[in-house]
Structure formats: C-alpha cells, structure tokens
C-alpha cells in the first residue's frame, strides 16, 4: 500500500524520461495513421494546456478559446498560402496575432466573472466566427482556406516519411511550448493565478494587482492557443470556420476537466483521451459521440477533479469510508517510515 501510494505520487517524475524516449522513437514503430493521430494529440495537448492556464489556474471559465485557435490557424493559412512565408515565421506571427486578439478583447472580457465570463467569451468567439464566415474574400468563408503546404524539417527530408517529418516538427514546437508553460506555472506568477482562482479579493488584499495578472494570463493563454491553431492548420493543410467553433472550445474545456483542471499533466491526458475516444471508438461504432457524452457525464459524476487526481480521489473515498479526516499529503522532504499522523493528532501535539 505504501509503495503504490509513493508510486502514484511520483509517477510524474518516473514517467518523464521513458515518455520522452517513446515520443522520439514513435515514428519507428507507429504506422502512418496512428502517427498522425499522435500528432493531433500533441497539438491538442497544447491547446488544452493553454486553456488550462486560464481555466484551471486562474479560474476564468472561457468558452471562447477557439477564437485564438482559429486566429492562429487563419494567420498561418493566409501567410503560408498567399505569401509563402516559412513555417517558423508564420507560427511566430500566429502567436503574435493571438496575443493581439487577447490584448484587444481582454479589457472587455475581464469585466465579468464566472458564468457571465463564460457567456461573454462565447459571444465574442461567435462574433469572430461570423466575421470569418462572411468575409469570403479573405477567409474563404464557409469553404475556408485549403491547400496549406505542410512544413518539413529540412534535415529529415528523405530520411523519414512526410508524416513523421511533421510529427517531429510538432513535437519540437509543442515540447518547447510545454516547457515554457511549465516554467510559468511554477513561477510566482503561476502561484498568484491560483490565488486569483481561490479568492481574488484576498489576493488583492495581499497587494497583488489582480486585474493585471488576469490580463497577462489571458494574453499568454491566447498566444499559446494561437500557436496550437497554427500547427493544426499546417497539420490539416486546411483552415476553416470550424476551428473557431464553440464546439471546439467546449471540447477543449472538457479535455481540461477530464484530465484535471489546474494540474500540469491533466490537460495532456484529457486531450489524448478525448481524441483517442473519438478515433478508436468511431472505428467500431457510429455512436462515438454518445460515448463521448457519457464519458463527460461520468467524469462529472465520479471524477470531477479529473483523471490526474485519481490517486487523491481514491484516498479521499477510502478515508470517507473509514470516516477519518482526509490524510495530509506527505511533505516532499519527509521520509518517515511510520504512518502519517492525522490532522487532529498533529494539532493536538502543537
């Protein structure tokens, strides 16, 4: 029991290196189709993580995050297709576009909280959707922009398949993005975001400029979301209004919730799960949408904190069954061999 508890806690550390190796070697043992699914998982991991920053850490429930995804996609689409701009530059500009959109919409969107924030972000995204739909000359309207050339890593051309080539590109971009996000989340800024989520007033009372923090989080999330959208446009070779759809935003939200909002690995697991569900289940039944829906419902019922927090949840349920107070998480430095004292015992002693 002790061993499994420790394993559950340290799985993140234990899994890091083997995972990296697996990801790097994937094209060697995965055929084309699964490899492209894996690529899509990478891209949506980034998207889900960017939403998580806003949703899970800062506690701002955005149902409009697809606006950034789509903005990045259209930026890439327009630049790559019409101006022939190379991928690194186009992706950078996509990020800038996302950041710009966030800077512009932020002051409006951040005037609201909770469900109003949800609805306002949804509205703005729908407006953007409408603009994209109507502005056929530039965006292609309903038809979108097809024929976006796939970027290739030059030193790998000829050595690996095109699919693998783009996979590595995505892996590098997403990898770097996630590393920077890990930094952000572990910084005092990240801790402050959690403070905002918990109780913005208290944080302001401690002297933190909460509005500015939210604005920054919104902008950063927008940038990363646009990056994901840009990658996706390259991935599909196509960008259309579907990438600004609120359904995409909703699925992003579910990916975050399913995996575990406010955790680092949660959204990644959530993205993988939702996409795998879609691809695997749709292979043997047409009813994958229903199954996806059932998974959402079951998550809310059984695992509202997300999959990543499963070990905690099991511990919680076990404690409830035994009618004890929830056990404290062991401090990282302690190596005590004996049982962890309950909260009551600790307080009695001090």
């Amino acid at each position: 029991m002790m061993a499994t508890a420790r394993l559950a806690r340290n799985w993140r550390r234990a899994i890091g290196v083997p995972l990296a190796v697996l990801l790097l070697a994937a094209p060697a043992f995965l055929p084309t189709y699964p490899l492209s699914v894996l690529t899509e998982i990478l891209i949506f991991s980034l998207f889900a993580m960017s939403l998580n920053l806003l949703l899970g850490y800062a506690g701002l429930p955005s149902l409009g995050h697809s606006a950034f995804f789509g903005t990045g996609g259209y930026a890439v689409g327009l630049l790559a297709k019409y101006l022939g701009i190379p991928a690194p530059v186009a992706l950078l500009i996509a990020v800038v576009a996302g950041v710009a959109l966030a800077l512009i919409t932020g002051p409006f969107v951040l005037r609201t909280h909770g469900a109003y924030f949800l609805i306002l972000t949804l509205s703005l995204t729908q407006v953007l959707f409408g603009i994209v739909w109507l502005w056929r000359r530039v965006t292609g309207g309903d038809d979108g922009l097809p024929g976006i050339p796939t970027p290739k890593l030059p030193f790998l051309v000829g050595r690996v398949s095109d699919t693998a080539n783009f996979y590595y590109l995505a892996l590098v971009v997403v990898g770097i993005a996630l590393l920077t996000m890990a930094w952000i989340v572990r910084s005092p800024f990240g801790l402050a975001l959690i403070g905002i989520r918990e109780n913005e007033r208290y944080l302001a009372g401690l002297g933190y400029p909460t509005w500015t923090l939210k604005y920054a989080a919104y902008t950063i999330a927008g940038g990363y979301g646009a990056l994901a959208g840009g990658l996706f446009a390259y991935f599909k070779g196509f960008v259309g209004p579907g990438q600004i759809s609120w359904l995409l935003a909703g699925e992003g939200m579910v990916m975050v919730i399913l995996g575990g909002a406010g955790t680092f690995w949660g959204p990644i697991i959530g993205a993988a799960l939702v996409l795998l569900l879609r691809y695997e289940v749709s292979a043997f039944t047409q009813r994958w949408v229903m199954i996806l829906g059932i998974v959402f419902i079951l998550t809310v019922l059984l695992l509202p904190q997300g999959i990543v927090r499963l070990p905690d949840r099991i511990r919680q349920l076990r404690a409830q069954l035994r009618r004890e107070a929830p056990l404290a998480r062991r401090p990282a430095s302690a190596v005590s061999p004996h049982r962890e004292p309950s909260v009551e015992q600790v307080i009695e002693r001090s």
Binding site: E198, R329, I347, R349
Partner: protein, 258 residues
C-alpha cells in the same frame, strides 16, 4: 511636533443604492494606537473597514494613511503604504497548503514581470523565510496540509502570519475573535497584547472583553455615523452609548471578566 497620523478619515460617506451605510465619518488614529470600532449590527463597521482598505470606494470623503491620500487607490496598492486587513472568515486560500499561503504573501513583488522571472521552489531565500514564519507561528507541523483541513483557529493564525509577513504598519482586524469559544478568548487577548507597539491596529469587534482590554481608544458607530469617540472609560460613562447599545453588553463584560 506631532507625528503623522496613521489613519485619517475625513467626512467619509458610503451610499449604496440609495442607502446611506456610512455617514460623514471623521476620525484620526495615531501611530501605535489601538483603536476599536464597535457598534450594533448593521452599524456599518465592516463596510467602514472595507472602505479604509479599498475594497469599497468611498462615495464621499478622504482616506489618508500615514499622510498619503489613498482614497483613489485600489486595495492592492494600499498594501504599499503598509495597510493590511483580515476578514471575518479567515482570508486564506483554502486549496493551498499553509506553506503556500505564506509563500504567496512573501513572494509579493519579489520577482519582476508579475513574478514570471522566478520559480517558487528554487527561491531559497523565500523558502527559508517561509520556514521561519511557519516556525514563529507554530505552523510547522501543518505546513504542508491544505488550509481547508485546518480548524478555524489555525486558519486565523495562517491569515495573520501571511499578513505579518508583509510588515503591516496599519493592521485592520475584522472581528478576529469571531468563532472563538468563550474559553479561548483570554488566550486571544493575550496574543493581541503581544502585537508590536509600533504597529497601529484598528479592530472591529463584538466581544466587549476583547475591546476593553485591548483598545486605547474606542469609536462607536451607530446607523453608519460616529456616535462617540474616546477612551474606554469615557465610552463606558457616555450616556448616549449606553442608551444606544452598550448597557446589556457592559453588564456582560463586568460579569465575565476574569
């Protein structure tokens, strides 16, 4: 030469939706003073503290802290002049551990770019300071427990520890004894007495035991206006105050004093 007052309220009023909650409040608190604000429920005490702290804007009047006019400043900027406030419900972050609650306070303003330039775990100085604060407040054993699992008294301690870490010069306490059992009050009064004398404290409280053992001066609020202002003895003898609300409470205090 007189020192700059710690707090000055000049004709502060607060009107919400047509209702006058605070009416023309003026008072002055000297540095190092212990001021208690008392009054029956609905007198506007908590509103007054919120206006002083900046969580509610004053409709009229000025709030001046250590000579600085902070009337237009949002709450988070008032911390810069040393103003910190506690809450009736302890102002702590429930899902964070005790240590993290202290860290958040300590990390305030330490790293540039809104804190993006640093990393919480590798800031040794801050981690050491947090450890020191935990020890000083007797919170080491619960350091890594989420605050929501802690009993009320502990949460209050965490709240105060976090605020003290920011070196308040003017500390506003909103009913800090609320939720304490009767036998916990003497210990609480003891702890209040130990507050550093260079810290100015403004206290809103219902417990007359706490108020009369702690305060240098008392301001009585009634229906949002100042009814009386003076030393504890003066307030005790003040007929208006007795008539308005104190009589029953005073008898209670005399009976219950140790």
């Amino acid at each position: 030469m007189t020192a700059v007052p710690a707090l000055q309220l000049e004709h502060v009023s607060k009107i919400i939706g047509g209702l006058t909650i605070l009416e023309d409040i003026s008072l002055t608190v000297q540095p190092g003073e212990r001021r208690a604000i008392i009054g029956p429920n609905g007198a506007g005490k908590t509103t007054l503290l919120n206006v002083i702290a900046g969580f509610l804007p004053a409709t009229r009047g000025r709030v001046i802290v250590f000579g600085r006019d902070v009337t237009r400043l949002p709450a988070h900027r008032r911390v810069d002049v040393g103003l910190l406030k506690t809450n009736q419900q302890p102002a702590v972050f429930q899902e964070l551990t005790t240590r993290q609650n202290i860290l958040i306070a300590l990390l305030r303003g330490r790293h540039r770019l809104l804190g993006l330039t640093g990393q919480v775990n590798s800031d040794r100085a801050v981690q050491r300071e947090a450890e020191r604060v935990l020890e000083e407040w007797g919170l080491l054993d619960v350091g890594d427990i989420e605050v929501r699992h802690l009993p009320h008294g502990y949460q209050r301690r965490v709240e105060l520890a976090a605020r003290f870490a920011l070196r308040p010069r003017l500390l506003l306490l909103d009913e800090p004894a609320a939720g304490l059992a009767v036998d916990e009050i003497p210990a609480f009064i003891e702890r209040l007495a130990q507050l550093p004398r260079d810290m100015t404290v403004v206290l809103v409280e219902h417990s007359m035991r706490v108020v009369f053992s702690f305060a240098d001066r008392i301001t009585v609020l009634h229906h949002g206006a100042v009814l009386a202002d003076g030393t504890p003895d003066e307030i005790q003898r003040n007929e208006d105050v007795q008539a308005a609300y104190l009589a029953g409470a005073m008898r209670g205090r005399n009976a219950g004093t140790a």
